[in-house]
Symmetry: C2
Subunit: 404 residues, 2 copies
């Protein structure tokens, strides 16, 4: 008899952002006149930069002629893109990462969901709490956790590292040593950034105990302060303990274009096996490359025009972040993040729960945010707003919230 993967059934309800989308759709149907402003899901709103549009048109034309048509891409990505990444994101920052340690993919969500596959199901997983749900859910689906406790708001068998106002939203070393440690900095959802000194301590910890850090640096383009690392490979020893996930979604507006990459250094060996070899095997077996035109678009992100245009785009969003941060602080909210990240994390007022505040904000201000509790038990009482809307809508949303 066919059995299903019953680990899936441990997941409580649907994926956070699907739930939010459904709630907003219902509200919109019942209130067709309401002008809803979405500061919830971390989706960008600015159009693709001209350098990227030009690159896409050029490569589309190539696909229309026999001489320049491209079929299957190389398993792990085109060299032109892997070379550009290795130079710009790593060598230019003093990181020792070579092009053949870079695996091009269709985005960081796929990679952050799939990376756990190369590990045994007996590994103990540690995550920050609150956390991007994909890290946890994909480990649940793989059977690396116990059941979900509705009461505690967490899964048995997972090590949760609380990130709260008390510890400045920075995880502390857990009591029990984990095997796989998911870290995301600048952080989603709290918007916090880790210093190089603190990240070095995590690298040292992982090397000391033989852990693997899965480091999600999807938001590195938003770092504005000195002393905040853009890559974990800025830390000494990271080549023997860390995998890094990167995305083009937020630095280049590729949420609807789909491109990302994962770095697995060849020095990273566990259980007697080079992890690079396993991830290459997964890519070669279950993935057929990112589209040629999309990889060319990714290449243009590193062109002089691309860099200049995208710096402006990031600056545009970071102005929104300041509008939210400063506006809500003026209105008396406790506000965190928004300096090195496009996310603002605010303490929900008046003892409301995160979902109560979600409903309140949607019905009163017609503003959509993300309930902190959707990111974990320690997110309860918090709320995430994103800087990815237009400037006009961001200003309007903050005005509405001030009047609430």
């Amino acid at each position: 008899m066919v059995t299903v993967n019953r680990n899936y059934l441990k997941l409580p309800g649907s994926y956070l952002f699907s739930t939010i989308a459904k709630k907003v759709n219902i509200f919109q149907e019942e209130n067709p006149q309401a002008s809803v402003i979405r500061l919830g899901i971390g989706d960008v709103t600015q159009p693709l930069a001209p350098a990227i549009i030009d690159s896409l048109h050029r490569s589309v034309d190539e696909m229309g002629h026999r001489e320049t048509f491209r079929g299957y891409a190389p398993d792990l990505g085109y060299d032109f893109l892997r070379d550009a990444i290795a130079k710009n994101d790593y060598r230019d920052r003093g990181c020792d990462i070579s092009a053949d340690e870079i695996f091009v993919s269709d985005g960081a969500k796929s990679d952050s969901g799939n990376i756990q596959e190369i590990f045994g199901t007996d590994n103990k997983v540690a995550v920050c709490d609150p956390v991007y749900p994909v890290y946890v859910d994909t480990n649940v689906m793989a059977g690396r956790t116990g059941a979900y406790s509705q009461e505690k708001g967490c899964f048995d068998g997972v090590i949760y590292m609380p990130c709260t106002a008390d510890n400045g939203f920075m995880p502390e070393f857990p009591e029990e040593v984990p095997d796989l440690i998911y870290l995301c900095f600048p952080n989603n959802p709290t918007g916090g950034a880790i210093t190089k000194e603190r990240l070095q301590e995590w690298v040292d910890y992982a090397n000391r105990y033989g852990c693997v850090i899965i480091y999600d640096a999807a938001y590195e383009a938003y770092i504005s302060q000195e002393g905040i690392p853009h890559s974990i490979y800025e830390c000494e020893g990271a080549r023997t303990c860390a995998i890094e996930l990167r995305s083009f979604s937020k630095n280049a507006g590729f949420t609807g274009v789909r491109l990302g990459f994962t770095v697995v250094p060849k020095d990273l060996v566990r259980d007697g096996v080079q992890l690079h070899r396993l991830w290459a095997r997964r890519h070669g077996t279950k993935f057929n490359g990112a589209p040629y035109i999309v990889q060319r678009a990714g290449e243009s992100v590193y062109s002089p025009e691309g860099k200049q245009q995208l710096a402006q785009q990031v600056a545009y969003y970071m102005r929104n972040a300041r509008v939210i941060h400063d506006g809500l602080q003026d209105a008396g909210y406790s506000v965190y993040g928004g300096v090195d990240a496009p996310y603002i994390w605010l303490a929900v007022p008046n003892g409301m729960s995160s979902w109560e505040f979600f409903d309140h904000l949607l019905s009163q201000a017609h503003v959509v945010g993300t309930p902190g509790s959707g990111f974990g038990a320690n997110g309860e009482g918090y709320f995430r707003l994103t800087a990815f809307s237009t400037y006009e809508n961001t200003v309007e949303a903050v005005e509405r919230m001030k009047k609430m």
Copy 2:
């Protein structure tokens, strides 16, 4: 201590097409003057059709303007594409499949690799032998098999259904009833097509025993004969036992564009769970949609101009198939397939092994094919050639093989 997924270590050597690519690269380096013709990997060579190029340019322009920019796609695909698929591929063929049973993805390789995830690891898997390696390898990686036997050329715990000249390359019902049955028709690698009557017997079998058929119809556009089903849902009762995988790679030349879809009917329930719900959860958690511009390109495949242009493209490749089929038959080879599929399956002459013939063909004729043994033990002694090259190269390759 971190453990790796040791199931990966059961896989013998690297993925078939990576091995071939490496061999060809070495040959090219050693023989830089040789003009190698590739009839190996099933990659297309014709440029994208004008209707598709136009659609891509239009949607790229949309991405460059704030008013028409698109961020994250809906989890399961844009309605415009799902509706076009439901109408053209299903309703117009009399199949009862609705748009919300269609899951848009980045290609059939990903889907055929990922679909096994929603099932328990205790399911018994049946595959044809020879077989597209992804079905087997991904089940190995998930721990659904035992070790690989070098001697037998197969994995313990997998039910292999021999497809040989003796049974006309059509699988017979296995002695042991499997749980998951992978079928691919028109077949890769043998090029054989299944009749509707025979496929109906498989559907009845699956419904009787509670199996699930994973039906890969990636090559349906190449069917030329009447009475050959384009979809398993042409068979009565398939909604309660079959998942169908489809691709835009071969009917529209999207190998480097990346688009596919999977159909999971809502009536398909196993172990008390709707499989549609599980696959939706996987998509929502581990995938972030195919690119907007690629989904628009997919939509244009169903436009009147798209249909007309792609019919010509398929006809172009099928002319190649006839050139190979008839040319090699004239030269005394035993040749199969090539009528309803872009693959020609030939018996290797003179008692050579498949890999010996590969090396012989590469060194003597500078033609690349795929060794049948790469698809399974029963592929030994056979060799796959594809119709996806240019007409000129196909004619030249056959001439060289005749002279060999």
